[in-house]
Amino acid sequence: MRRPDLKQSLGRLLGPLEPEVGCDECFALLDRYVELELAGRDADAELPGLRAHLEGCPACREEHESLRALVGGEQAL
């Protein structure tokens, strides 16, 4: 099995450097963030701290990916 890249492992351990929101606020803002993304707007500028959290929190990142896929899929129909 290929060993994960050292920087990738350290990045996961040391987390994002940028200011980030916590899990509860991420959940509160996630629906708006996804709609901003899908509308082609600058979601990171409008909701600062959320992108960094998604980088640092695998669970919230997975739920962001799912919500974006679900809503994006509906919009594509």
């Binding site: 050292l6 351990l13 450097l17 916590g22 899990c23 629906d31 709609e35």
Partner: protein, 227 residues
Amino acid sequence: MDACTVLLEPVKARPNLSLVPSPSALDDDSRDWLRGLRSEGLEREETVERLHLLLLRAARFEVARRRPTLPHLRGNELDDIAHEAAGDALMSVLVRLDDFRGESRFTTWVYKFALLEAAVKLRKRAWQGREVPLEPETWGLFESGGAGPAREAFQGELIDAVRDGIAQLTLHQRQVLVALALNGVPIDVLAERLESTRGALYKTLHDARRALRAYLASRGFEPEDWI
């Protein structure tokens, strides 16, 4: 207190977050959902049933996405999880209906409850019966090598510093950091085992990461060394 800590506190300074949307601010579909859910009798019952079906669809969507990670579960077991997630999400949505601020469509807002419930249940199911490792068991991930003698020596020093920094964390910080960021334990699984919450554990993880980065800085390492 740095900017990270401020942002990890509950946000109270964003005035728009506490505003209840005026009916005119909502799209037609969202307005119909709210009207139905706030009505009485048959109209409410029918709207709740429609909402349940919507949540079930979202929960099944999440189950389908995660199915490859749960090969030991049969289709009916997975659908039971989707139904359970939809039911729990329905309760959450109805309890939190006044929290809907109209900053997204109502359907997008409710989907996240179903996706969360399904994801949490599936993570817990995947780890059911497994030991949750709280001590480092994968230092091999951090072995240096293959980048030339000088680079390898530098990486070795960095890894030693990381180990030393982790050893200096509090026991709780160390266990949370190691379980989540080193051993890949899902945060919801760890929260259940430690009788904590996702939010509380992430705050601990954030503090541990910050302490570890500060320790590395004190040893002369810069973010560029690991980014």
